[in-house]
């Protein structure tokens, strides 16, 4: 779905943000991109919908080079939810906000209404549909931004830090929601610092540091590699941290899941 070949990117001010990135993301995959602030995560995903174009190398979305199509065209395929919802909200009501892009994409009245209702329900925003997005809390605004993108049903959904400001049950909803998108064949790319969220979702994890990809694999491998994580300024999942602290007791060290931890400990500790 997304194919990146030898991508380099330098900002006009001379900052080299991406260095020789090669990457393939298949249709229906769920990918988490992690790494410290300034590692190049956001710069990378901005190449997915042509907001940025490579300084060197190429980015292909669904087989099409991003250099050869407009952002507006790519946006229909690749929906973006930014880190700060305030950068993408501007309408007077939540409902108008969700309808806005649909109008731009030329949806007719009836399907437009259906999609708005669908998106409002999906993200639990029905009761706020007449409210101003700016009267809502940060977490709620984030959901409005998500609803407004999902309404036009893009093939790829890119979310920059979707868990910021979300409480635990909303994160759980988001997790189920991403799984649901995945099963519909949608590709989901999430940029996040939230190691607990990632360890619960267990996606493919791409770790970035200094503009490069330093690891790419399953969560169980990447999130338990202390050396790599330190290099990328990512902390261990709390469950992993427990086992790392009692290495001498010879438990497996690649545990990220709470329930796996429970079973392992039960086996050794006994119990009822």
């Amino acid at each position: 779905m997304i194919e990146i070949k030898d991508l380099w990117f330098t900002y006009p001010n001379g900052v080299e943000a991406l260095r020789n990135i090669s990457l393939e993301i298949r249709k229906g995959e769920f990918v988490a991109i992690m790494g410290q602030n300034g590692a190049g995560k956001t710069t990378l995903i901005k190449h997915f919908n042509g907001l940025l174009k490579p300084s060197k190398g190429a980015v292909l979305v669904d087989g099409v080079n991003t250099e050869s199509v407009s952002v507006a065209k790519l946006a229909r395929k690749v929906g973006f939810i930014f880190q700060n919802p305030d950068n993408q909200l501007f309408c007077e009501t939540v409902e108008d906000e969700i309808a806005f892009a649909l109008k731009n994409f030329g949806f007719k009245e009836a399907p437009l209404k259906r999609r708005v209702t669908w998106a409002l329900n999906l993200l639990g925003l029905m009761e706020y549909r007449k409210a101003s997005p700016f009267m809502l809390s940060g977490g709620e605004r984030k959901r409005v931004a998500l609803a407004s993108v999902l309404a036009w049903d893009p093939q790829v959904v890119v979310m920059d830090e979707p868990t910021i400001g979300q409480d635990y049950s909303q994160k759980e909803k988001l997790r189920q929601f991403i799984i649901q998108l995945n099963t519909q064949g949608k590709t989901v790319v999430v940029v996040t610092h939230d190691v607990e969220f990632v360890s619960e979702c267990n996606p493919r994890v791409i770790l970035m540091s200094g503009g490069r990809i330093v690891a790419d694999g399953i969560g169980k491998d990447v999130l338990t590699d202390v050396e790599l994580l330190t290099q990328a300024s990512v902390v261990l999942p709390q469950v992993t941290e427990i086992f790392m602290g009692i290495k001498d007791l010879e438990f497996p060290l690649d545990v990220i899941d709470l329930y796996e931890a429970k079973e392992l400990l039960l086996k050794r500790l006994g119990g009822k």
Binding site: G139, G165, Y168, E196, E241, I246, L265, L266
Partner: protein
Amino acid sequence: MVIVEAKDLTYTYPNAEKPALDDVSFEIQKGEFVILTGPSGCGKTSLCRCLNGLIPHFYQGELKGKIVVNGLNVVDHPIHELAMCVGLVFQNPENQLFALSVEKDVAFGLENLGIPRKEMRERVNWAMETAGIMDLAERAPHELSGGQQQRVAIASIMAMNPEILVLDEPTSFLDPVGAKKIFGVISKLNESLDVTVILIEHRLDLVARYANHVVVMDAGKIILDGEPREVLNSEKTRMLGVGIPKVTRLFQLLEEQKALHSKKVPIMAEEMGELVRGALKA
């Protein structure tokens, strides 16, 4: 000494149907590190807005009951007076920064107070040093990353030497290492300068270790208010969908199976490790 006291506090935003705060009463002692948590929209942010008078002076609406901060009844004192003792750090640092350089942003509050130049210099440097932004002094705040901006916002509040520091999810935009650094800074301010900290946070995994008082809210009401381990281990907290530390949840799951016992409920990975080690030895 009680530094914040709320009694039967009820507040409704203009044109809102339901109150954002519904008959809330609590006390915070000077020097406490308080975590305020609860589902999105539960009233946490509104409660914090009461502490420096944004509610009712800026947001208006209807306020009933009493809220006293550092001896000042909030209703009777204007925001600028309350701001002298309550520093507020918001979720989104962009809303808080506006100067042309980081240094000027950090100095802004002090300039308005007419602090002598030499003292201002010292306080600005101390605040930038503590927040780890010394190397950004000459940079323009809007060019910085979200995480760096939040550290600038925290530094500019710290330069004011507030009695009470109120932080609304201050590390949302920071990477985990950066977040740990900020929580370390806040905790140091709390311990060494006796600054009272009120922290709104969902990610209890990260912050439970620093707190000595946890308040859980839901639908405008206070549901639990007490010692962190007790509150975090409460069935009520978990049923509300508050994300208790994974360590605590793991302990609960093992305790249910009678595989592990402890009077002191673990909230940090190292505590859990020691519990397991002890149980295996026994």
